[in-house]
Amino acid sequence: MPSGGETEKAEELNEKLDAFARDLKQGSIEGSYNVAYRTVSLLRIVIAQSKCSSAKDVMESVVKEGKRLIAAQQSETAVGNMVRRVLKIIREEYASALRGKSEEGDPQESLHKMLLAEGQLDDLSRSVPNLKATVLDAISELIIELENSADNIAGQALEHIHANEVILTAGKSKTVEAFLKKAAKKRKFQVIVVECAPFYHGQALAMSLARANIETTVINDSAVFAIMSRVNKVIIGTHTVMANGGLKAVNGSHAIALAAKHYSVPLLVCAAMFKLSPKYLCSYDQDAFNKFVSPKDVMNFEEGEIASRVQIDNPVFDYVPPELVTLYVSNIGGNAPSYVYRLLSEFYHPEDHEL
C-alpha cells in the first residue's frame, strides 16, 4: 500500500510539473513573482518526495526537474534563479550539517572560510541525517522571503518618493504599483505612465493608480523624451537583473533610460532578489535573452496581404546597460548596479551558474 501511495504522489507531482511547464510555455503566468513562487513550491515537493539522503542525489533531482522547467521557457529567468537558490541552500545546509555550527560564529574570516570551504565541499555524496528536514526548513524560509519581497520593497517607498515629485514609470510592474501606492498613502505626487505599445500594459497600471487617487497621466512611447525634462525620478520594474547589473525590462525601457540619462534624471529599478540572474547578455536576439511573440499585437492576421510582404517583429524585452541605472531597490535594500556581482556570489554558488 505505501508504495502505491508513493507512486500516486510521484504521479501527482509529475502532473503538476507538466502543468507548470505548459503554463510557462504558454506564457499564461502573470508576473515573475508567481513564476518564482510556483517554482520554489514545486521544488520543495520534489525534495520532500526524494528518498535519498545525500546532498548529491537531492541536487541531481532538483537539477533534472529544474532543467525541464527552464527548457519550457528560456526567457523566464526566475525559474533558473530559483533552482539555483535551492541548490545553494542544499549546499549550505549540507556543509553546515557536516561541520556543525561553525560558520555563524566569526564573520570576519568569512572570505577565508569560503575559500577553505570550497575544498571541503567537493564531496557531496556523504550521507547526512536530517538533511532533508533542514533543507525543507530553509526552503520554507525562502518562500517567506518571496512572499514578503514586494512589501519589503514598498516599505522603502518613502525614502525615494518625496512630496510633489513627478515620477515616470513604464508598463505594468506589480512591484512598482505597490511601491507607488504605498508612497501615495503618505505623500502627494504625480505619476506619468508610458503606455508601452503594443501590449498597452501601461494603461492598465494607470487605471489602477488613478483608482488609488494618484494623479496619473498616460503618455505614448514616443513622448518619453519630450516629457522627461519635467520628471524628477524614473521608477521602473524589470523582468530580470543581469549579472553585470544591466536590465532585461519591458520593451521601450532603454529609450526611457537614455532619455533619463540625457536629463540627468535618476533611474530607480524596483526588483526583488529573485529576479537576479547569473547570466550575461551576449547578443540582443539570443534566445535566452529576448522573447519574440506573435505579430498579432502589431498587426491583425486579417491584414495578411500586407503582413506577408513585410517582416513584423514583436520583441517583448529591452536590454538596459548598467551605466544607465542609478539604483536598485530590492527587498534587501538599495544597491548600486556595480554591487550586483557581490549579490550574485551571495545568492548563488558559482558551480550552479551553468546547470
Binding site: 519574440f292 498579432k296 495578411g304
Partner: protein
C-alpha cells in the same frame, strides 16, 4: 402550512440536484477527436509512404502541432483516428513525448478500412467513448486559439432554456476572419455562409468552388430578420460538437464529411430540429494544411511566429535540441554548420546537423535535419526535409523536397515541384514547373499504350538528368476521392500569384494554351481519320470539305490553324502509309496525294496569308518529324510546282525573322529560295530584256 414545507423539500432536492450536477461537471472530461487522415490525395505522391499528419511542418510533425494545441487548450482525453498508414501514426504517438503526457491521455484508434470522415466518426460512435461535448479537428491543424472559451459558449447555448434553437445546437464551427486576397485563402476552402446575427446560428453554408453566382435559399432570408452574409472567413474545420453528432452520423450513413453533415442538418432543420452555430475568433491563429498551398502558407505563419507559442524555438523534439531564434526570423539549431559567405536572409529554419556551403543564399525556406547544401546554391521558398543533399550551383525555388532526396550539381528546380522520398535528379538539368516526382514507377499503371519500362527509364534520364532516379507522378484520374470535383490548387501556380501577379497571369495563359493544344490535337487526329476514310471511301472533294468544316466547328479551331493542319495531314498520311519505303518513294506518294487533293487544298489556301500560315505549319511539322525535316526542301518544291505556294510567299517566309530553332530549317531551304530568286530575277530580266 403544507406548502412551505414542500417548498423546502423542493429546495432541498433542487440543491441536491445541483450538487450532483456540479459533481458530474467536475468529472466532465474535455475530449477531442483528431482525424489524422484527410481522405484525399492532395499530397500524393508524398503521402504514399507517410501519412499526411506526420509530414514535417517547420521540422516538427504536423500532428504534434495539433496535439500541442489541444493539450494546451486543456483537453484531457484525445482520440487520434488513423486510417491510411495507421501503424506509423501509432508508433509516432508511442515513441514521442505524447506517450508520457500527464495531463492528457492520447488514444490511437486504428481502422484501415475507413474511406471518409463519416466512416471514422461512425467507428468512434461504435466504440462509445465520447461522453461529453468534444472538439473535432483534423490531424493537420495548427492553432493557438482559446478552445475553453468556445466550449463554454457551446455549453451555455445548450443550457439555454429560452431558445430551443440554441438548445438543439449540435455543433459550433470555428472560423477565422481572413478576407479575400489573403494568402491563407485558397480555392478549396473558400466558403460562403449566412448566419443569424444575434444568435450566431448558421443558416446557410456553401463552398464557393469558383462559382461566380451564389444562391441563397429564400426561406433563409424570409424566416430570419437579421441575416449576416459572410465571405471573409477561413474554414479550418475545427468544431466543438455535442455527442449527438456521432449518432447523427451513424443514422445518416450517406454523410461522408462535415460538409455533408452541415448541409444535411441545415436542409432538414425543421424535421431533425438540430441547429449549427458558428463562432469567429478574434484573438489567435488557426490554419489547416489542406493542400500544398496551405502547407506553404501555414509554414510561413509558423516561421513568422503567428502561431506563437507553437513556434520552432519553443518546440523541443526527442533529441532535446534547442533552436535559437535570431533577427529576420532566422532559426538555427546549435550544431548547424554554416560556411563562410553563406547568407540566411529571412524566415529561414535550419535543422540540426545540417551543413551549408560557401556563398549559398537561402530565404523563406525550411531546411530539415542532417541536410547537406553545397556551395553557391540558391534556395527560395522551398521546404527541404531531412537528410537531403543539394549539390553545388543548384537553384531550388518554391518546392517541397522530401527525405533523402538528392539534387545533383547545377540543377534548377522550377516553382511548384514536389520531389518525393528518395528522388534523385540531375546533374545539369532543369526540372519543369509543377512536376511531381517519385522514386519508383507507378506499378498499377498497366495501360497498354503506356510507355514500356525501358522507355520510362529513358524518358526520366532525359528529363531529370543522367544520375536521376525520378518518375513523374500521375494523379489517378478516376479517383473515388470525395471531393475530386474540387479545383485542385496547383502548388506552384498559387505561389507564383503570390510572388508576382504577372507570373500568375502568364502561367494561367500557358495553361489555357495547353487546353487549346489538346483541342487542336484532338481535332488533328479526327482530321487524319477523316482524310484516311475519304481516301478509302473515295469521297468527292466537296463532301470532304464539308466534313472538315464541321469538324472545325466542333473543336473550335481557328481558320488559320486549319490551313496548316490540312496541309500537314495531307503530307502525313502518305508518309505514314509508306513508312518503310525509301525517301524517294515516300516523296512520290506525297506528290500523288497532293495532286489528288489539289481542289481541297485550293479551297483553303487561296491567298498569300493562308500560304504563309501553311508554311509555318510545315515548319513546325518539320521540327517535330525527322522524315519531314529531311525532305522539306523537296516538299516545298512539290507544293511550288503544284502552284499551292507562290514564289513570293516562299521568299517572304524565308526572310521573316524567326527564333533560333527555325533557323536551321531556313538554312536548309536556302538553295530552293536562291533558285527561286534567281528564277525571278531571270524572268524579270527577261521581261526587262523583252522590253
Amino acid at each position: 402550512m403544507n406548502s412551505p414545507g414542500s417548498q423546502q423539500n423542493n429546495m432541498a432536492s433542487k440543491g441536491k440536484g445541483k450538487q450532483r450536477g456540479e459533481d458530474i461537471q467536475q468529472e466532465d472530461v474535455f475530449q477531442a477527436v483528431v482525424i489524422a487522415d484527410s481522405f484525399n490525395v492532395r499530397f500524393a505522391p508524398i503521402t504514399n509512404e507517410k501519412p499526411k499528419s506526420l509530414l514535417p511542418l517547420a521540422n516538427t510533425p504536423i500532428l504534434d502541432y495539433t496535439l500541442e494545441f489541444l493539450v494546451s487548450a486543456g483537453v484531457q482525453e484525445i482520440f487520434v483516428f488513423c486510417c491510411h498508414l495507421a501503424d506509423q501514426v501509432r508508433t509516432h504517438l508511442r515513441q514521442s513525448k505524447w506517450s508520457e503526457c500527464s495531463s492528457c491521455t492520447i488514444t490511437p484508434v486504428l481502422s484501415e478500412s475507413c474511406m471518409s470522415m463519416g466512416d471514422a466518426l461512425r467507428e468512434i460512435h461504435d466504440k462509445s467513448v465520447i461522453r461529453n461535448d468534444f472538439v473535432l479537428v483534423f490531424g493537420d491543424v495548427v492553432a493557438n486559439i482559446r478552445l475553453q472559451d468556445i466550449l463554454q459558449e457551446h455549453k451555455n447555448r445548450l443550457k439555454d432554456k429560452t431558445c430551443p434553437k440554441n438548445k438543439n445546437s449540435v455543433m459550433t464551427m470555428i472560423f477565422q476572419k481572413v478576407p479575400p486576397g489573403h494568402r491563407s485563402r485558397n480555392k478549396e476552402d473558400d466558403i460562403f455562409l449566412a448566419v443569424d446575427k444575434s444568435s450566431n446560428r448558421v443558416l446557410h453554408y456553401q463552398r464557393v468552388r469558383d462559382q461566380s453566382k451564389l444562391q441563397i435559399p429564400v426561406d433563409v432570408l424570409a424566416d430570419n430578420s437579421d441575416v449576416l452574409l459572410r465571405y471573409d472567413l477561413l474554414d479550418s474545420q475545427i468544431s466543438v460538437c455535442s455527442p449527438e453528432l456521432l449518432s447523427l452520423f451513424k443514422d445518416n450513413f450517406d454523410y461522408l464529411n462535415r460538409d455533408h453533415f452541415v448541409k444535411g442538418i441545415l436542409d432538414n432543420e425543421d424535421i431533425m430540429e438540430k441547429t449549427i452555430h458558428m463562432c469567429v475568433i478574434n484573438d489567435g491563429y488557426m490554419g489547416r494544411i489542406s493542400n500544398l498551398q496551405m502547407y506553404d502558407s501555414v509554414s510561413r505563419d509558423v516561421v513568422c511566429r503567428w502561431s506563437y507559442p507553437l513556434v520552432p524555438d519553443t518546440q523541443t523534439d526527442e533529441g532535446g535540441q534547442i533552436i535559437s531564434h535570431s533577427r529576420h526570423n532566422v532559426y538555427t539549431s546549435k550544431d548547424v554548420m554554416l560556411a563562410k559567405g553563406c547568407v540566411l536572409e529571412q524566415n529561414v529554419l535550419v535543422g540540426r546537423g545540417t551543413r551549408i556551403g560557401n556563398n549559398t543564399r537561402i530565404t523563406d525556406s525550411v531546411i530539415g535535419k542532417d541536410c547537406k547544401i553545397g556551395n553557391k546554391v540558391v534556395i527560395e521558398n522551398a521546404y527541404i526535409w531531412d537528410g537531403v543533399t543539394v549539390e553545388d550551383d543548384c537553384t531550388v525555388n518554391t518546392a517541397v523536397v522530401c527525405d533523402k532526396a538528392v539534387i545533383y550539381a547545377t540543377t534548377t528546380v522550377n516553382p511548384g515541384c514536389v520531389l518525393s522520398w528518395n528522388v534523385k535528379v540531375g546533374p545539369m538539368v532543369t526540372i519543369a514547373t509543377g512536376s511531381r516526382l517519385q522514386a519508383t514507377k507507378d506499378m498499377d499503371d498497366d495501360f497498354g499504350d503506356e510507355l514500356t519500362e525501358a522507355d520510362q527509364d529513358a524518358v526520366s534520364m532525359i528529363n531529370y538528368g543522367s544520375q536521376s532516379q525520378a518518375f513523374l507522378y500521375q494523379p489517378p484520374e478516376d479517383s473515388d476521392d470525395e471531393d475530386s470535383d474540387l479545383v485542385q490548387d496547383m502548388f506552384g501556380h498559387s505561389i507564383q500569384s503570390e510572388t508576382s501577379s504577372e507570373a500568375s497571369s502568364l502561367s494561367e495563359e500557358s495553361s489555357e494554351d495547353e487546353g487549346m493544344l489538346d483541342d487542336e490535337e484532338l481535332f488533328y487526329s479526327e482530321l487524319l481519320d477523316t482524310l484516311v476514310k475519304a481516301k478509302e471511301d473515295n469521297y468527292n472533294t466537296e463532301n470532304l470539305i464539308l466534313e472538315i468544316n464541321s469538324l472545325k466547328h466542333t473543336y473550335n479551331i481557328a481558320i488559320r490553324d486549319l490551313y496548316g493542319m490540312v496541309m500537314k495531314g495531307l503530307i502525313e498520311i502518305p508518309l505514314r502509309a509508306s513508312d518503310n519505303l525509301d525517301p524517294g518513294a515516300q516523296l512520290l506518294s506525297v506528290k500523288k496525294n497532293i495532286a489528288r487533293y489539289k481542289a481541297l487544298i485550293m479551297n483553303y489556301i487561296k491567298n498569300e496569308e493562308s500560304q504563309l500560315d501553311c508554311l509555318h505549319a510545315l515548319e513546325d511539322f518539320a521540327l517535330s518529324n525527322k522524315t519531314v525535316n529531311s525532305v522539306l526542301v523537296k516538299l516545298l518544291h512539290i507544293l511550288y510546282d503544284a502552284d499551292v505556294l507562290s514564289e513570293n510567299v516562299l521568299i517572304k517566309w524565308h526572310r521573316m525573322d524567326k527564333e533560333d530553332e527555325y533557323k536551321a530549317i531556313k538554312k536548309q531551304v536556302t538553295p530552293l529560295i536562291k533558285w527561286l530568286e534567281e528564277a525571278e530575277e531571270e524572268t524579270s530580266d527577261e521581261e526587262i530584256g523583252s522590253d
